[in-house]
């Protein structure tokens, strides 16, 4: 595809791609490299990195292997990122396309609901939903998606509002095409590019949201998560700062890679801005 070719020319996309592949490898190879349960006690607590050949990055305050948690944590973050983003995008695109296409009271009603969701700060809304629905990882994924759908909805709606009056859409009406077909087969393929670029932002935020929840002790304790590690590391910050620092770098690199790819996608889809 020409899109892939233009992506390969974008330096940000390449760097992002390389980083993301590293993270994906971490997630994929976790079970093979560290076959034991990463949350099981493995050795003496708070060993420094590179001090014990068995634990490359040392151990945390309970005695669990840090590098194993890092590798398994990659799975959690990627899983949460992808699934929550999927939930947010599906809801957002549905709401946005219907509101943007039909306008009138449908648009007004849907926009009021969107505004209501946007008015409550999404982390606080997240906290409330976690209290009510619990923090198992499956629930978390849906709940994070629920607090993130408003921006894709706005974006989709804006695209639909523009495209709805384009002459090629009017031409479809004139030949008698039914509405649903116009929305999904004619307008949507043209409206999706900016939404797809934005999906990278949603994914980045989903990962940050999950790790923030974990840091506050509200994520699934039975799952290896980078945020959980940082929370643990906070308690021993003065003495064993490696426990908190390393998982943070992992989050940073993952979110960075996703953002870079998103930026590369944006540049590739907007050739006019690429030269800027």
């Amino acid at each position: 595809m020409s899109l892939l070719k233009s992506l390969c020319r974008s330096p940000s996309a390449i760097i992002g791609g390389v980083l993301l592949i590293l993270v994906l490898l971490m997630a994929a190879l976790a079970g093979w490299l560290y076959p034991n349960d990463p949350l099981a006690l493995a050795g003496r607590p708070l060993q420094a990195p590179f001090s014990n050949p068995r634990f490359l990055f040392g151990t945390d305050s309970v005695g669990r292997d840090i590098i194993a948690q890092l590798f398994y944590g990659a799975r959690t973050s990627l899983l949460v990122g992808i699934t929550a983003t999927a939930v947010a995008i599906v809801i957002g695109v549905l709401v946005g396309s219907i509101a943007g296409f039909y306008g009138g009271w449908v648009d007004t009603a849907l926009m009021r609901v969107t505004e209501a969701f946007q008015t409550v700060p999404n982390f606080i809304l997240l906290l409330m939903l976690v209290v009510i629905f619990g923090s198992k990882i499956a629930t978390l994924v849906v709940v994070i998606g629920i607090v993130s759908w408003t921006a894709p909805a706005r974006l989709t709606r804006a695209e639909f509002l523009t495209l709805r009056n384009r002459e090629f859409v009017q031409a479809c009406r004139v030949i008698g095409m039914p509405d649903w077909r116009i929305i999904f087969r004619e307008i949507l393929p043209n409206a999706l590019p900016p939404v797809i670029v934005y999906a990278s932002v949603v994914m980045a935020f989903s990962i940050l949201l999950e790790s923030a929840l974990a840091f506050l002790g509200l994520s699934d304790p039975n799952v290896a998560s980078w945020g959980n590690l940082i929370a643990d590391g906070r308690r021993v910050l003065r003495s064993s700062w490696h426990v908190a620092t390393l998982p943070g770098i992992a989050i940073l690199l993952t979110v960075l890679s996703i953002s870079l790819i998103g930026q590369g996608l944006n540049d590739a889809m907007n050739p006019r801005l690429r030269r800027k």
């Binding site: 009021r112 505004e115 008015t119 906290l127 940050l208 840091f215 906070r234 989050i251 979110v255």
Partner: protein, 325 residues
């Protein structure tokens, strides 16, 4: 006059929004396992069903769904947000005690993010694709990707633990007994790290938006007209490009304020600040749903107020907005 009509319009629009939020909050109440009375009974260690029923009647928790909804909406609009068992005070009082700290933090962070983001974004746009731009954009990306709580911890590690330049947490040094200017400076010192931590991701966003906005505006026709009149480049930038480029920045100001309230939860927890954010965290840990709902409601009110101010500000800058929106 135009501004006044716009203000009324915005207020009118906020009402259905608030209505939906209240409805949603009420729904959450119904979905929560157990209610306030159960929590109370749990605290008292009693199992008496008859007492429970009596208490329910007393707190207006009996009756059908519509009556309960009506009571809930009525109470909330009168700012009767219920009673917090954990703090032994009405929810509203606790919230109002914690509000000033959060507001202080947010205003500092927002101002810093906006001002720094604007300035740095302009620099990046002026030297687009050369090394200052690449450096700035890369830094921006890193600040954007770093989780705020981790950055806060690293900040504490470097500046409080290793360098001992800044305090590691809390709002002020209570033991030292500062007053007046001394106290102000003490609080300011305590707020430096939290402000920067909270502001970081929004600084990165503003930087990117300002840069993109400047680049976009510089391609518009009226810039060419300004040059055709013989203006110096600097004048073209400040008198024509800047004001137009700030428009998108002001637009997202309202959005960012809301998100920042959420970010405050984490930052206040990291730095042990006695604010609204940390209150939310405590409410979650104690499963104090009343408190949490109260915080949600107050946050929504705050966001509506901030958005209102921002909209008025925007209308003052852009004469094309009329009261039809």
């Amino acid at each position: 006059m135009r501004i006044f009509r716009l203000a009324l319009n915005r207020l009118a629009v906020s009402i259905p929004c608030m209505g939906i939020i209240l409805l949603g909050l009420f729904l959450m109440l119904q979905l929560a396992p157990g209610d306030a009375v159960d929590a109370l009974m749990g605290q008292m260690g009693s199992n008496d069903v008859a007492l429970a029923e009596q208490l329910r009647q007393q707190y207006g928790l009996g009756g059908g769904v519509t009556t309960r909804l009506a009571i809930y909406v009525w109470n909330t609009l009168h700012l009767d947000l219920g009673y917090s068992v954990a703090y032994n005070q009405p929810v509203l009082n606790v919230i109002l005690q914690r509000l000033p700290v959060t507001m202080l933090l947010m205003i500092s962070a927002l101002s810093f993010a906006f001002a720094a983001g604007t300035a740095v974004g302009i620099i990046a746009a002026r030297h687009v694709n050369k090394w200052p731009d690449t450096l700035i954009s890369t830094l921006g990306l890193i600040f954007y990707a770093a989780p705020s709580f981790w950055f806060g911890l690293m900040g504490i590690l470097v500046f409080a633990v290793w360098l001992n330049w800044l305090p590691s947490g809390g709002l002020e040094d209570l033991g030292a007994g500062y007053t007046g200017i001394g106290r102000v400076l003490d609080i300011a010192g305590h707020l430096i790290l939290p402000t920067i931590t909270l502001a970081l991701i929004y600084f990165a966003i503003y930087l990117r938006v300002m840069r993109a906005s400047m680049l976009e505006v510089m391609t518009l026709d009226f810039i060419r007209t300004a040059r055709a009149k013989g203006l110096r480049e600097g004048a073209v930038l400040t008198r024509h490009a800047l004001r137009n480029a700030l428009l998108p920045m002001v637009t997202i100001l309202g959005l960012q304020a809301g998100a920042m309230l959420g970010g405050a939860v984490v930052v206040e927890s990291v730095f042990s600040l006695p604010g609204l954010g940390r209150l939310a965290h405590e409410a979650v840990q104690q499963r104090d749903l009343n408190m949490l709902l109260g915080i949600v409601f107050m946050s929504a009110l705050l966001v509506i107020a901030i958005n209102f101010i921002v909209d008025i500000l925007y209308a003052r800058i852009d004469p094309r907005i009329d009261f039809n929106g």
